[in-house]
Symmetry: C3
Subunit: 278 residues, 3 copies
């Protein structure tokens, strides 16, 4: 009897679901929990099974997909009964794809997009129009600029700094311990317009200049100036990237002269846009 009753409830649930929402099944308000201390903007969509903790602010027109945790409480939560969750900001028009874990204290700009299953530990600052790829793990206290493309499975250690228009390809790691294990944690710095190839490693405390290209699988153990083409383990300066010419393609770098998809110079070209900034 009990089994039948459960089966009946189960069918009823599916039936109701069908009646209410016969085509789209993504935002059904199922198991959504929103803290009364959260501030949700206009036209925000929140996916099923998503939890929004205390002191989260979500800007207008943002989409938080299903199974996300926004404002995950910090470690102190587990032991301090007077714990108060720091504020968390998800900017307007952002899209947080499913299964994200975003800790309290993060500040995401407008138009930020994430892949699936990103983990953002506490107190990162992420600029406008930046993409954070699936499975990326940003360890906290990290600053990332505007219009960056952080691809899948990038790992950025605490206290690191990433400029604007930076591309980090899959499995790039920025480390923060100069003499492991130590207490002298100090992130790496990647400057504007620089690209780091797949599996590239940036050592703690190093600074890579603007407009650099770091080859796949390179290990950057020291500073490099602007416009460097950097390859190897340990990585070496191969040439000024502006001298890198591909037959039939000409000079490919700086890349901003030939690539504009999703960039603020998409309509004007880089040169015009760049002059307007100054």
């Amino acid at each position: 009897m009990i089994r039948q009753y459960i089966a009946y409830l189960s069918n009823l649930r599916i039936t109701l679901s069908v009646l209410i929402n016969y085509k789209t099944m993504m935002f059904n308000d199922l198991n959504v929990r929103v803290s009364p201390k959260a501030l949700i903007g206009k036209n925000v969509r929140i996916g099923d099974n998503t939890v929004i903790f205390d002191n989260v602010v979500i800007g207008d027109n943002a989409t938080i997909a299903h199974n996300c945790v926004i404002g995950e409480p910090l470690n102190e939560y587990y032991s301090n009964p007077d714990y108060e969750n720091p504020s968390t900001l998800i900017g307007a028009n952002s899209l947080i794809r499913s299964h994200a874990i975003i800790y309290a204290g993060n500040k995401l700009g407008e138009n930020v997009t994430t892949g699936h299953r990103v983990t953002l530990r506490e107190n990162n600052t992420i600029g406008n129009n930046t993409l954070i790829g699936s499975l990326s793990d940003i360890q906290g206290e990290v600053t990332i600029g505007h219009y960056c493309r952080i691809y899948s499975n990038v790992h950025i250690s605490q206290f690191s700094t990433v400029g604007n228009f930076v591309f980090l390809y899959p499995y790039v790691v920025i480390t923060n311990d100069p003499y492991p294990p130590s207490n002298d944690l100090n992130g790496g710095t990647i400057s504007d317009y620089t690209l780091v190839g797949v599996h590239g490693i940036i050592f703690s405390g190093t600074r890579v200049g603007r407009n650099c290209l770091i080859g796949a699988n390179s290990v950057v153990t020291k500073d490099f100036p602007d416009h460097s083409l950097i390859i190897g383990n340990p990585a070496k300066l191969v040439m000024d990237i502006r001298k890198y010419v591909v037959i039939g393609k000409g000079s490919l770098y700086p890349w901003m002269n030939r690539f504009s998809r999703g960039m603020p110079w998409e309509n004007t070209g880089f040169e015009v846009w760049n002059q307007r900034q100054h």
Copy 2:
């Protein structure tokens, strides 16, 4: 009072669960949502909290474990009110382990097995008897053949092609941008029977022949012919793999002569099986 009532409901729920299903707890039809536009085969098991979206077809005897999303709507879903989900196929006898995100438009063959937390973006084609390991991230528009072993955390970029009987070990990456960032996206190609070691990188547009072995941490920046042993950054042809002899073990490659677990030549040996194919 309210607190007590909730506690009562909570206990009641556990009690019912015990009565109904005192031993196994994996398929309880809890929070399962199946689109009325999905087609579910015979003897299909669907785990708790799993969602099956519109136009998904699941073959007979398949198991979709708990917390999966099958037929995840494409990006267009978020903005187009007339959005119609492309069809998705999970072949008969497949086992999709928990926490998978499989986008609409994927076509998985029969007997496909996945690890946990795989992400399959849209429109991949995956052959029969292929394994996709935990945390792997197949970026969409990718073709993978039959009987492949894609281990954990492999990242395959859009438009790449993987043959049959290919082994990709953990953290292998196939890239698709020849001059990053560009709009000339073009995946890599790995031919039948080839093995790529841990952390190996295959560059956009390159083609690795059949029966090759690519060493761990290698960076493949150009094409290689069949039977190559390939090592280094940039990867170089070390020798014809058929000449690679290990003392006491003899000639180990082609591997098909000595390894058959899970392969179609398991009972006949490779040579007999292979002749029958022609």
Copy 3:
């Protein structure tokens, strides 16, 4: 009408949630399922949506965060109707962060901490006070000692052995197939106090001694003695690590003389503590 009723229920749910638990939202006993065959210690907290399967034992004061699966049934479960789940142990005072998948047969010591989304396949043994980082994938039948720091996204193949006080940095892989693909699976061994840098690879069957430092991106293809500084692909012995002197910092290794955070010699210093062990 139905739509209104659902909306009403939905509001009611949120309202109740607010009344009961107006500040903290982490342990609400929502969708928690605990097998009646599990043994839960005193003061254990179990997060929402977490499932505890048969024959799991959780020690006192442990915290299992939300969306975890503890005691995930082995493959045999899918086909054997008489399947009995092996016992699983989570030690006292452990903290399992959210979205963990811990298979049946794991034995975790006391004070074990995990990051998010760890995957522990069956029958690993993990010592006391060890940390397993986010997204790490321990493939089963692995032994890890006490006080280890396994950082994010480490992949350890079956049958591998990790000593005590070992640090494995992100994306380290220990492999287990000497001639892939083969049936001669045999893990690697890392001895006490050894550190493996980011993206390091330890080959199947190799043994790295005590007190070694393996550089980032190195590929360890053979055994190394105690106190080795090991770098490169294939990795080579660069020097006795005790001779490695950094100007202004002096001799940094063995690291135990200068680093004690979270270690059992935190109050006494390593030398005193170490003598007491003998």
